[in-house]
């Protein structure tokens, strides 16, 4: 099932996404055609169990989908929609029709939402959209302040989801998107380094350029593993049970975002910072996403505080105890 969905995603995004659409989305347009096709394929319901009318994929599958989405700079808020529907289903509520955004402060694509899902310590409330004040992150993705309308459904998440399921889920989503975007930015930089010629040869023949992109490749591989590890922990132990691995993934994503963007831009030099170039759609999103749902410093502080509290004697035992 996972392979089929990933293939569908890849084909859909290859056909419908691209720089032109990213520009329109950054100018405030809703990617209606792309969203409609994603809905036709049932993608927003990927994480909803089959008995509730969804596709019933695992978190590991979802994370892989989000990486594909990230490779294409995520022109639509499919990850947020998948997450919102997963939360609704977990609380025994029907999945929403149309796009559901998460939260009211900096709500992703909030101005385009058909409904707003609020989550507070395990309690879910689904609202009609109400009014909004438009805001954006540095990638010019809509992150709107919403004043929600009437509540249309409410429920509670099972206790195993913990009190901050939406934030943890969003942190994993952002980490997975960064993982995909970083892989794509690296691939573009490699392609460019093999094409662009200076001093009579492709710049990719210079060791300085090779070493720089090799560093980026290390970060791309590491964040990929961190995301896969977090998703697997989430499947095994539930949302709060995977908090450590999700925190690790977001920390690694934050570091990868910085390093891969820096090395990719360095390879592209001036052309990479032009408005018409594709690279910045990826790198600005990496810079925006690393700050959303908790930046590296936030999650590293959580990891560090817990490790300090547990003390040196428990550090190794605690790390390895999470393998199972």
């Amino acid at each position: 099932m996972r392979e089929i969905v990933l293939e569908q995603m890849e084909r859909l995004l290859a056909e419908e996404a691209g720089v032109a659409l990213l520009r329109r989305v950054e100018a405030g347009e809703w990617p209606a055609a792309l969203w409609a096709r994603a809905e036709e394929l049932g993608l927003p319901l990927a994480l909803v169990p089959e008995e509730a009318g969804g596709v019933g994929l695992a978190w590991a599958d979802a994370a892989a989908m989000w990486q594909v989405l990230g490779r294409h700079a995520a022109p639509l808020p499919l990850g947020e929609a998948m997450l919102a529907n997963a939360l609704l289903a977990a609380a025994g509520l029907a999945p929403a029709s149309g796009f559901v955004t998460l939260g009211t402060n900096a709500a992703p694509f909030g101005r385009h939402a058909a409904a707003v899902l609020r989550h507070d310590r395990g309690r879910l409330a689904l609202h009609l959209p109400g009014s909004h004040a438009p805001q954006a992150n540095i990638a010019r993705e809509p992150r709107d302040r919403l004043t929600p309308g009437a509540m249309i459904a409410e429920g509670r998440l099972p206790p195993a989801w913990g009190g901050r399921a939406a934030r943890l889920g969003l942190a994993l989503l952002r980490a997975a998107l960064i993982s995909g975007a970083a892989a794509r930015a690296l691939a573009l930089a490699v392609e460019w380094a093999n094409t662009r010629s200076q001093f009579g040869r492709p710049i990719g023949r210079f060791q300085a350029v090779q070493q720089s992109l090799a560093v980026a490749a290390g970060e791309v591989a590491a964040v990929d593993v961190a995301v896969a590890t977090a998703a697997r922990a989430l499947d095994a132990r539930g949302m709060e049970g995977a908090a450590f691995e999700i925190a690790c993934a977001k920390v690694m994503a934050g570091e990868a975002a910085q390093l891969v963007a820096a090395h990719a831009h360095q390879a592209f030099a001036a052309i990479g910072i032009t408005e018409e170039h594709a690279l910045h759609h990826l790198t600005r999103r990496m810079w925006a996403w690393r700050d959303e749902a908790g930046s590296a410093v936030t999650w590293a502080t959580e990891i560090g505080r817990e490790a300090l509290e547990r003390g040196g004697a428990n550090l190794w035992a605690d790390l390895t105890a999470r393998d199972g």
Binding site: L186, V190, A193, N194, G204, R205, Q207, V209, Q210, Q211, L213, A214, V215, A217, G218, A221, A222, D224, V225, A226, A228, T229, R232, F244, E245, A247, C248, V251, M252, E255, A296, V297, W299, A300, T301, E302, I303, G304, R305, A307, L308, R310, G311, G312, A313, L315, W316, A317, L319, T320, A321, R322, D323, G324
Partner: protein, 376 residues
């Protein structure tokens, strides 16, 4: 490149518990100096203890002294040893690569004689690769073996050979025929099993910046080797030696060299301002690199050759191992640190330049990654 996150075998937790009990007892008196060195510490008595418990060569078949355990179980043993900072140097290289090489390419008699002794922790191996004129450019090596009646005659010099002065055998890469005219320098190289007691071998320890002797210059002067000292196929030494590299570069020894300081720091830096995010970043990276190393153990277990993945992991791991002591030093004035942590860090600072040299320099590793990316 692909790193699949592996499933940890069911008995891993019990195996860890067994190791921790053993290491708590064996390591009661290990000083910070011992723990900082870990696999650069050579202690034959300790290696025999480890061997007696079946933790050396544990993936090898039982008929050769092994335990027929899985690669992931072996990874558990290695991790536990390194996390405790155990002085595993006397068996580390033989367990990691010389033994597996013998198992693959050795003659039946050699396997029966040497592998069980390695597994008992009684035989130490060193690796003869670098030479005065052949460092990262290994194919420039000049040590040569010529065919003579009944065997081979070895002449030349190896350098920077870790533990040669303490080891029983070296596995050496040498030239057995000149490279073909206009052909690859990788041709004409062969691997030999060299008994370091043979006459004509002189081993001169080279004092390092710590004032210690761990690496050596080894000179071969008309050294006669028996026919069966040739390992594998004559002329195929380059391919054989490079296929060891995934074993050499993928293990937890490329990640955990500084771990004892991190554990110590969790207690000593509790009240240092700003400690939590710095330590949290280190833990997050360590947890991720561990998964990558376990992933490589699983690939090796399946018989794959993840040489490029191993290069990438070693590069990431070495950078982490080097950054760790500096990150801790950045949190508290070393003069205000407890003596145990200070001693660990003082040694790690001096050891850390080797992390990105031994087993392939950072520049060579990044060259391998770049080639995998399709550059060059």
């Amino acid at each position: 490149m692909r790193f699949d996150v592996p499933e940890i075998p069911a008995g891993a937790a019990a195996l860890r518990a067994e190791l921790r009990a053993f290491l708590a007892e064996a390591g009661r008196d290990w000083t910070p100096a011992v723990r900082a060195r870990s696999w650069m510490g050579f202690d034959r008595a300790f290696s025999r203890e480890v061997g007696a418990r079946g933790w050396i060569g544990m993936v090898w078949p039982r008929e050769y002294g092994g335990q027929a355990r899985s690669g992931l179980e072996r990874a558990v043993v290695l991790e536990e040893m390194l996390a405790a900072g155990a002085p595993v140097g006397a068996h580390w290289i033989a367990d990691r690569q010389s033994g597996p090489l013998l198992l693959r390419l050795g003659r039946e008699e050699q396997k029966r004689r040497l592998l069980p002794a390695i597994a008992r922790g009684e035989l130490a191996f060193c690796i003869g690769l670098s030479e005065p004129e052949a460092g990262s450019d290994l194919a420039a090596l000049r040590t040569r073996a010529e065919r003579v009646r009944g065997g081979w005659k070895l002449n030349g010099r190896k350098i920077w050979t870790t533990f040669a002065h303490l080891s029983d055998y070296m596995i050496a890469l040498v030239r057995t025929s000149p490279p073909p005219e206009g052909g690859s320098r990788h041709l004409g190289l062969s691997q030999f099993l060299v008994d370091l007691r043979a006459s004509g071998i002189s081993i001169r320890p080279i004092r390092d910046l710590l004032g210690e002797e761990s690496f050596n210059e080894v000179t071969f002067d008309e050294v006669l080797l028996p026919e069966e000292a040739l390992l594998g196929r004559e002329g195929a030494g380059w391919a054989q030696a490079t296929s060891e590299l995934a074993f050499e570069r993928s293990g937890p020894d490329r990640i955990l060299s500084s771990f004892p300081a991190l554990a110590e720091g969790m207690d000593a830096l509790r009240d240092a301002p700003g400690a939590a995010p710095v330590l949290g970043r280190l833990v997050a990276r360590l947890a991720t690199l561990r998964q990558m190393s376990l992933s490589l153990a699983a690939m090796l277990e399946r018989g794959e050759d993840p040489a490029r993945e191993a290069a990438l992991l070693k590069d990431l791991g070495n950078s982490f191992e080097q950054a760790l002591p500096e990150a801790l030093r950045g949190l508290l004035d070393p003069e205000e640190m407890p003596p145990g942590l200070r001693a660990l860090l003082d040694d790690l600072v001096q050891l850390s330049p080797t992390f990105s040299l031994r087993g392939g320099t950072r520049e060579i590793l990044r060259g391998i990654i770049a080639r995998d990316l399709g550059l060059r």
